[in-house]
């Protein structure tokens, strides 16, 4: 088999058993890898209705056909599980050397179930699988874990993914981190923590074979060249932090818990200012030519990675205008292994509730918009579950439900996942994308904002043409996330589906057409939805927080713009229609049949366990 190894490893932490299973070719072909393969395995491995923190909830690490082929930006892996934040699918991506090592183990997926009796880490060296004691790693940051474990091992090439304190304490938005990168959203780190699993260590030397090495090399060369051109200038020269100044000017920068979409002090936080004043180093994932990561000088003399989403969430969203504070807050989130978007989103909710006198105990911390000390004190409190931190560790939705009353009005989430840094009222296609995403408010599983920023549509007005755009964008993302290709390479394709079908054919030796690949994207997305339906999804879950539907934007070029509920409803209907689902958003039997999903848990792609 080329591009795949054709097998998975299932480790049961409760029994200590690990078993290798063959993966059927039909499943790999239909779900590609990465998020697609992970979703398909989640559907089969998660018992219906499983509690996210139950030992039975599978934590799945999925590799993909393009990983390790030398194609730029493809050193990535997916982490899929049932989210403790949303109760639906959590499908996160992370990248770099751990991704390459996962594939070199000689597997396409690693499934972890059960719960270790004591803090443990999994060590895998090719076929050798060991569950090792990790009590000495308790409380350590993911980076400390990496260096401690590598120090213990006699294998310099070993790669480690770990959780921090937040994962150990089952903070519902804890991450799994490797080499400073994170599988960030949806609380995959909390699921890992619930299994008493501190880290996974990999070292492998399985060859990664492709069907047509010369053909793959040729495409890889062309993509590498394109990836170094002007299409990726933003990522190569400034990084994603470049978004902040533009978003502010366009009235799409969520500020003070979405009270505004412009931030008066955006200049100081802009990517341009950060680059000029705080730049330390540029960095890239393994096998990446774009190298978008930027490390900035932090106050303590160290360096800190910063992405736009972190910058927005710990900056304007919380009313913080000092870049040094944002960098310090980001450092804390990395140290504890916290998703920065949900951290910022939950804290912004707490700040608003505190200012409105709705949150008992918040005043003690001094939680108010723009209060740097309070922000910096709250992050460790969340990670360690101390005081008010224990409430905030549940995420904004659960915290608001617990507080009750008006506080629920200010929780800015979809399906429990806090909103990313794209103001929905001034990005109407994105508004729809956020409302219907199976993962909750997510900017990665669709790039619906792309239409808004292209001039293809009027971003300030809703219309029923958006359903098709969002569905198309989700399918496109599903294919990228399953092959896996980084989204920052997406513009380097002229005809994505035909180019990537050609590429995938040369990697796997299977003859993919662009139509098959497009259909795979649709299938993967539908399966995520199908999983959510099984786990209790209802029409009302595809919706946006009330603030967005009742308040108009008070400042900036989008001043006066709102999103009336009926306009959102109309867009959602257009989306269900574009998807071929019923009017309530449920997948129809016909659609399942079309996509080969009708017997998804029974026959067609059933594992030979």
């Amino acid at each position: 088999m080329h591009g795949f190894h054709g097998r998975l490893l299932h480790v049961d932490l409760s029994t200590g058993q690990s078993v290798w299973h063959d993966l059927e070719q039909s499943r790999l072909r239909a779900f590609l890898g990465g998020i697609g393969l992970g979703t398909s395995l989640l559907y089969d491995y998660a018992p219906p209705g499983v509690e996210p923190f139950s030992p039975a909830n599978p934590l799945i690490f999925a590799s993909a056909p393009l990983v390790g082929t030398g194609l730029t930006t493809t050193a990535k892996f997916a982490v899929v599980t049932k989210s403790p934040l949303t109760g639906f699918i959590a499908d996160s991506l992370s990248s770099s050397y751990f991704a390459l090592e996962l594939k070199r183990i000689g597997l396409d997926a690693l499934i972890i179930t059960g719960r270790a009796a004591a803090m443990a880490y999994i060590f895998i060296e090719n076929e050798k699988v060991e569950i090792r004691a990790a009590e000495h790693l308790r409380g350590k940051s993911p980076l400390e874990c990496e260096s401690l474990i590598r120090g213990e091992l006699d294998v310099p090439t070993a790669r480690v993914a770990a959780i921090g304190k937040a994962g150990e304490n089952k903070v519902r938005f804890a991450t799994i981190s490797n080499e400073g990168r994170h599988a960030g959203r949806g609380g995959v780190g909390a699921v890992m923590g619930s299994k008493n699993l501190k880290a996974i260590t990999l070292c492998g030397d399985h060859a990664i074979s492709v069907a047509d090495p010369a053909g793959v090399d040729k495409i890889a060369g062309a993509l590498r060249e394109r990836s170094l051109g002007s299409l990726t200038d933003k990522y190569r020269k400034i990084g994603t932090v470049a978004n902040l100044a533009v978003f502010n000017r366009l009235g799409t920068l969520p500020t003070r818990n979405f009270q505004q979409s412009t931030f008066d002090d955006a200049d100081a936080l802009s990517g341009e200012s950060l680059t000029e004043n705080n730049f330390s180093r540029r960095h890239g994932c393994a096998a990446c030519t774009i190298r978008c990561e930027r490390l900035f000088k932090a106050l303590d003399g160290g360096e800190q990675r910063l992405e736009y989403e972190t910058l927005f969430a710990l900056g304007p969203l919380c009313g913080i205008d000092n870049p040094a504070v944002v960098l310090q807050a980001a450092q804390l989130c990395d140290l504890y292994g916290l998703d920065t978007i949900s951290t910022g989103g939950t804290l912004a909710w707490a700040m608003e509730c505190s200012e409105r006198g709705l949150l008992p105990g918040a005043e003690e911390l001094g939680l108010k918009f723009g209060q740097a000390d309070a922000l910096l004190a709250a992050i460790p409190a969340i990670a360690e579950g101390r005081g008010l931190g224990a409430l905030l560790a549940q995420g904004s939705r659960r915290a608001a439900i617990e507080i009750g009353g008006e506080s629920m009005h200010w929780a800015m989430h979809v399906k429990g996942l806090e909103l990313p840094g794209y103001e929905p009222r001034s990005l109407k296609t994105m508004a729809l994308g956020l409302a219907v995403s199976p993962r909750g408010a997510c900017h990665n599983r669709s790039g619906a904002y792309e239409a808004d920023f292209s001039g293809e549509v009027d971003r300030l007005r809703a219309d029923s043409g958006r359903g098709v755009l969002v569905a198309g964008s989700e399918d496109f993302a599903a294919v990228l996330d399953s092959l896996i290709i980084c989204k920052f390479l997406r513009k380097c394709f002229t005809d994505f589906y035909s180019e990537s079908a050609n590429l995938l054919s040369k990697v796997t030796g299977w003859d993919y057409s662009s139509a098959e690949l497009e259909r795979a994207g649709e299938r993967i997305h539908n399966l995520k939805k199908l999983f959510n339906m099984r786990e209790g999804w209802r029409t009302e879950h595809d919706w946006l927080p009330p603030r967005l539907l009742t308040e108009t934007l008070p400042t900036g070029v989008a001043q006066g713009i709102g999103l009336p509920a009926e306009e959102l409803r109309e867009m959602i209907q257009s989306y269900y229609q574009a998807r071929g689902w019923d009017e309530f958003g449920f997948i129809t039997e016909d659609k399942l049949k079309q996509l080969g999903l009708s017997g998804v848990s029974g026959s067609e792609f059933q594992l030979s366990k």
Partner: protein, 295 residues
């Protein structure tokens, strides 16, 4: 160009056959706003007049124009002859008469003059203590009187005004529609011509600002650039003026064809545009940013 194309039941008569002696070359052919002055005046008047007559000297060379051409019998006989031949050639009862060296004709003022003719034979502005016979409205019925004048050798049009019902439009009335009286401005010397050109460029330029984001800002080391451009400028002209101002952007953000791939423009925070032919207006704020909003 005026957008109002409401037509009137009157003709315009343009006198083009003057000597241009102080100018040193034929005024009708002076370049103005990228075209011969006569064409500029014809185009302007074409917005409201269904009939235009150009009165030229015998054998005078003119560019092709969508007008009726009338020729003086004798060269350089002066304005009375020109007005007479123009009125004679007109099929309409009312004629607005002007010279070909009036680049700033104000159609609001011209329309006002036309509106005053009903009980008069001539409507003539009185500006800076002088009648302006070559910016006046005449009834065709005065043609025989002008012929008589010519025969008597009375070469100044104002002799007519005592003989017919003349409505004098005073300065105050003119200023209500044309505060600076520019409609009455004509050019006799090269210095007048230069001054008129400068005034034209000033009156017809627009100011826009360009806001730079991301890589463009880093390269240019500035966030904001103000540019003055010709009326009707397009994005292509914005980019070319920007390239001239900030050569560091050439080849990195801007090329001769527009923005390089990976970059886009947004006008006033609302419309994303990349087409070089997109029009810009005075006061527009043009953002130059990455075409990729991912992150």
């Amino acid at each position: 160009m005026e957008r109002d194309s409401t037509t009137v039941d009157a003709a315009a008569v343009i006198l083009a056959g003057g000597k241009s002696s102080r100018m040193g070359r034929p005024k009708a052919l002076l370049l103005f706003d990228g075209e011969p002055l006569i064409a500029h005046v014809v185009r302007k008047l074409g917005n409201i007049f269904p009939e235009i007559i150009v009165v030229a000297a015998p054998d005078q060379e003119l560019p092709p124009l969508p007008v009726k051409l009338a020729r003086d019998d004798v060269a350089y006989q002066g304005p009375v002859s020109g007005i007479y031949h123009g009125l004679k050639a007109s099929t309409r009862e009312i004629c607005f008469v002007t010279s070909c060296d009036a680049p700033f004709l104000n159609l609001a003022l011209v329309s006002h003059l036309l509106s005053q003719i009903s009980d008069f034979d001539v409507v003539v502005p009185f500006w800076q203590e002088r009648f302006q016979p070559l910016h006046a409205v005449y009834r065709s019925s005065v043609a025989p009187l002008l012929k008589d004048q010519l025969e008597r050798g009375e070469l100044r049009p104002i002799f007519l005004y005592d003989k017919v019902r003349t409505r004098k439009i005073d300065e105050c009335e003119i200023r209500r529609l044309d505060p600076e009286g520019l409609s009455l401005l004509n050019m006799n010397s090269p210095a007048d011509y230069d001054a008129a050109l400068q005034l034209w460029n000033k009156r017809n330029s627009i100011s826009i600002s360009v806001e730079l984001f991301g890589v463009a800002r880093m390269l240019a080391k500035t966030q904001l650039v103000s540019l003055d451009l010709a009326q009707g400028a397009t994005l292509a002209q914005v980019l070319s003026a920007l390239a001239e101002r900030l050569p560091v952007l050439v080849g990195r953000v801007i090329t001769s064809e527009g923005l390089i791939s990976g970059y886009t423009c947004n006008i006033n925070g609302l419309d994303f545009v990349r087409a070089p032919s997109a029009k810009v207006s005075s006061g527009d704020k043009i953002f130059i940013l990455s075409a990729d909003a991912g992150g």
